[in-house]
């Protein structure tokens, strides 16, 4: 057994620059949960199947379980905790999940919402089929997919000023 190997990582987490000494064996999930107490990042399958540990890295979604903590050097990482306002105000997509009852047990919710953020930040109108494909990297074992889909779709339409369109909002 080789001796332990540590490395200093400097990155931005939810807009704040941080420095952290990490074990090179750690996943980004390990670092975000263990060192920064960002417990929205769930440990689900830990093999990249379920999407519960999903976070944004430089604006793109990654399963943080399949990402080494040392790779975060210089990156901008956003977790669900980074979406709320200074006084804990919810973002539009978080509110939409509540309004559409898109939460049951809640375990898949942070991962789903971070994928929704990546989709919504493109400010594009996606078809239902496209949206389903974009959301396909997450498992919800309560099987509440329809409400999750509706929360994302309605937020997309609201941001594009199309929520009142009777043909789109069905």
């Amino acid at each position: 057994m080789a001796k332990n190997q540590y490395q200093l990582v400097t990155c931005w987490i939810n807009g704040r620059e941080v420095e952290q000494m990490v074990d090179v064996r750690a996943s980004l999930t390990d670092m975000l949960r263990g060192d920064f107490h960002l417990t929205s990042v769930k440990k689900g399958c830990e093999v990249g199947e379920c999407g519960a540990c999903n976070v944004l890295i430089d604006g793109e979604c990654f399963n943080s379980c399949l990402y080494l903590a040392v790779w975060a050097e210089g990156k901008h990482i956003t977790t669900l905790e980074g979406l709320t306002g200074p006084n804990g105000e919810l973002s539009d997509i978080q509110q939409a999940f509540i309004d559409e009852t898109a939460i049951q047990c809640g375990f898949c919710t942070p991962g789903f919402i971070m994928t929704a953020v990546e989709i919504l930040n493109r400010n594009r109108l996606y078809s239902d089929e496209e949206l389903r494909k974009l959301l396909s990297g997450h498992l919800c074992r309560c099987t509440g997919y329809e409400n999750i889909f509706r929360a994302v779709k309605k937020t997309m339409l609201r941001r594009l000023g199309m929520l009142d369109d009777p043909f789109l909002n069905t």
Binding site: Q5, A26, G48, K133, S136, G137
Partner: protein, 295 residues
Amino acid sequence: MYDMSALYEAKSVQDAVRLRLEHPEAQIIAGGTDVLVQMREGKRAGKSLISIQKVNEMRGISIDEEENIRIGSLTTFTHITNDPIIQQYINVLGEAVDMVGGPQIRNAGTIGGNTCNGVTSADSASTLHAWEAIVEITGKNGVRRIPIKEFYIKAGTVDLRVEDGEIQTAILIPKASYENTWGHYIKYAMRNAMDIATLGTSVNARLSADKKTFERVRIAFGVAGPVPMRALNAEAFINGKDVTLENIEAFGRAVLQDINPRDSWRASKAFRQHIAAESAKRCLIESVKLAGGEL
């Protein structure tokens, strides 16, 4: 925590070659979507890793001075799908890699990793075979380029010589392959996402100027044998023939002379043969339409 004995991080291609010569027992890791899963499963537990994740010179897509499309081995599936060069010249590759895993996997997984695994089901592999891609390998003796067919030695083994410190640095699509050519890929799987292909079929076609004759058709399969393979008998049959539905159907049947799928828990040999013939036909029909032909 991952069960690894050491992590060596390369900062450049030369650095990666040096690390590979120093630590021949170490496993190369790029996007991590396969290596880390295998490590978690115990298959690669206790191994040391050489990470090339930060070798940014190996990312990105360009057209080189010989007019090859050059895809850096670390380019992720998402970046391939969204790239304007890919969309203009070899759209089928962007479409094929857009069927790998799910969105987060496509943001992390790389085309280099997809091919260096040497697995027959890789979604990029059949298209790269059908477009006669060239693999660029860099080692202590410099750069060598080999056809992708020769890169695959057997299931799980590719032509990377550890003793020469070699890593795959790029995949090239020659102009002779992509010029005036259109293609289509069909992934047959049990689920629409997060699944491995039961069979992958990639076809591309170049038609004559009047769009009435097949000038050059190429077809390759994944999971029709232990490594991705071309269907050369079917190609020989269709080339020079008229663009008709009868010929395309005969082409679909002809692939059965070429392929050698196996029975597995995913599908039987007979079922794979059935979907191979059907997918070949549908892919060629779609390629003809994209090429401006009429049926």
